[in-house]
Amino acid sequence: MSESATTTDIGTAPTVRGEIGPETVTAIVAARNEPDWMVARRRHAWQVYREMPMPTTKDEAWRYTDLSKIDWQELAMREPSPPSRVSSRDQIPAEIQAALHFDDPSSAWSVEHNSASIYDEVEEELTRQGVVFVDLAEAIVNHPELVQKYFMTSAVTPEFGKLAALHGAFVSGGRVIYVPGGVEVELPINTFRWLDIERTALFPHTLVIAGPQSKVTYVEECASPARVQDGLAMNCGVTEIIAEEGANVRYAIVQRWGRHVFHYQAVRVFAHKDAQIQTLLVTLGGGVARSDVETDLQAEGAHSEMLGIYLGDSNQHFDHYTYQLHQAPHAGSDLLYKGALKDRSRAVFRGMIRVMPGAQGTDAYQTNRNLILSEDAHADSLPNLEIEADDVRCSHGATIGQQDEQQIFYLMSRGLSRDQAEKLIVYGFFEEVLARVPVEWLHKRLTRVIERKLG
């Protein structure tokens, strides 16, 4: 691959599998007809990608997840010709319609098929208030000031990591949400992502910008049909949340891709003064799923609640990396990640609370709890602290254990079968996290999804 390839006539360039090269960037740029500034962003990200070594298991951050097992030659680095857009709910392909839940009370919806937006709807009230909810391509054209200012400039930059840089170069879709100052969006905004291809890498981007004193809840759900099982697919996503002064943002991502998906997601919150943020990661799908979830508390009074649930079975491998960065005094963060592991599944939790010099009055907590449901399941927990201010309250805790036989015995003495009793204990285990999710329908639906996965 050489730089001269940048002049290739992309109109006829075939999709070459495993082509992680400058010509792919060029091909994407040309196919999308993007403005120069966006092209420059992609090229910069590409440069960063090229200069950064691929993480190996010798790097602490990737010690338990081996990227060398991904067969990059298997993956096309850009999406095939996009599926067609539809203008009403009933035109959405039946298979996708059946998988999503339009009944859940919401103020806006978008549906993506292999990272291309095929349908969206926004309540008029939101549009009237100036709320923007569009796909990334449209945002580049119609809201360039937002994208230019925020797209991979502050929350997640390409320098964040090798896969984030790759994402920056090859970004293939996603959503931009902007809520103007003072606007409170009461009902959640939803995106449903459907992935039913193989041997392809998708790079969806989520950019949430919440203006001062605004309020918004955004729920992303990722799913695949059961019929797709074989060839590797990759989802390399980045979520950026910018919460301006006093903004209140809730974000949930429910990942239940098919098992053929290697899932990577970087989620990073950039919190200004007095911003209140809650993130929830629900990890159920994918073969290997790695998430980097960070909160950057930039100013006083900001607070971030970081919640996570994971439930693994068969030979699923989940790796969560969390970071609570306290740069300013009197900010708070509270993390609770809970996971249950069946069969031969494996989970890694690695968390860091970092309190910078001068961040006095920090309150930071981090808890990871693991429930091992089978003899062959495996959990690793690495809750870390790095504290450079003294007037702080910080603690972390981690546990790994099995179900309490006394609890099972108690439930069985009340007439439940052993199987029922065990499931009830797992629900109870997750309930501690779900109870903190303020969206009622989401809470209920997550309970159902967990139920289904427990079998």
Partner: protein, 469 residues
Amino acid sequence: MPKDQNVAALKLDDYKYGFKDPDSYVFKSEKGLSKRIVEQISEMKEEPNWMLKFRLKGLEIYESKPVPQWGADLSQLDMDEIYFYVKPSEGEGRTWDEVPDDIKRTFDRLGIPEAEQKSLSGVGAQYESEMVYHRIKDDLAEQGVIFDSIETGLKNHPDLFKRYFATVIPSHDNKYAALNSAVWSGGSFIYVPPGVEVDIPLQAYFRVNSENMGQFERTLIIADEGAKLHYIEGCTAPTYSTNSFHSGVIEIIVNRGASVRYTTIQNWSNNMYNLVTQRARVEEDARMAWLDGNLGSKITMKYPSCFLMGRGASGEIMSIAYAGPGQHQDAGGKMIHAAPHTTSEIISKSISKGGGRSSYRGLVQVQKGAHNASSNVECDALLLDEEARTDTYPYIEIDENDASIGHEATVTKIGDEQLFYLMQRGLAEDEARTMVVRGFIEPISKHLPLEYAVELNRLVELEMEGSVG
């Protein structure tokens, strides 16, 4: 608390072990490390050929391994500036009269002969690279307890030595274990026969005197079935503007039903790099307890470990660290559960002040087949001012579903409410602070022999001096 006594304690000088004596040696290697020096050490010790081979292999492994990048900053440690072997005198004394006068004076000043009389079962004293004194009480020797320098152990008990040496910490374990394997000198060889209980502690004291000194003690302890032992090591050195280096390897075999307690009070001067590997192999129903006190040194990287190999084995690590200006204590411990019904506990308390950094780094691992293992880890850090730093890096790796594993850590400063309460009771602010710190370390200091507990409290008072405001 009697107020006057406390204030008097606060007036004590700084590091009281920083005095130095004129250099005194019968042999000093050239600076830096080479194959020639390794061969010289082996030759001077009149070692069997297998040991020379072992040393040279260690050197090879040392040279092939990179300097670890994951812990404290070792970039300022220049091995070319270090003297790897200094022999202070001919032979090892069995009475203090046999020890050269100037060296004996040093140990007198450190209070070792006095402590030996009052409260110990035996003492070993190392000066630079060699043990200059080793003695155990007659009644223990009569029961078959061996307490020798490691060199004497190799000479007099070659079979026992060879059976266990480097079995717990092989040379390739880490870069500095490899280095120690190449240039080891001094340290203790201890064997406690089955059923013999050494109730009063044995102690080894390590003193570095000359500048740019490297000390590489090697200790091998075998507690046979049902035996019991408490071993204490202490260490100090003069303060120099250049770096000194200490890298020991301590291997302990705790056979079935035996119990060993190993206490370290590390109080090296603040120019010492202290990179130590300590590990115990703990067999069925045996018990190992490490008490690891890291108060001195510039940089310490030290993680005492228990490999719980037999059913019902248990391990305990109590770690206490103090990091003042210019110090980084990277301490912690490892618990490897390799057998069913094994239990472990780690309690770590650290205090940081004035830019000092203390890190807890630990591993709890439950291996496949180690059913019903349980482990609990508690790490508490106290920060005394806003320049202080603390880190916690625990690794928990669990391969069995019936393990019960917990880890908790907290970071705090001295609370205004605590101070207010104590000052209301009539204490001055500095007294109140000292009392809070004492209370903080009390769960560990209460396990120390009395003299050491007193010494630790004295150090705390010393370090708290000027902390008000």
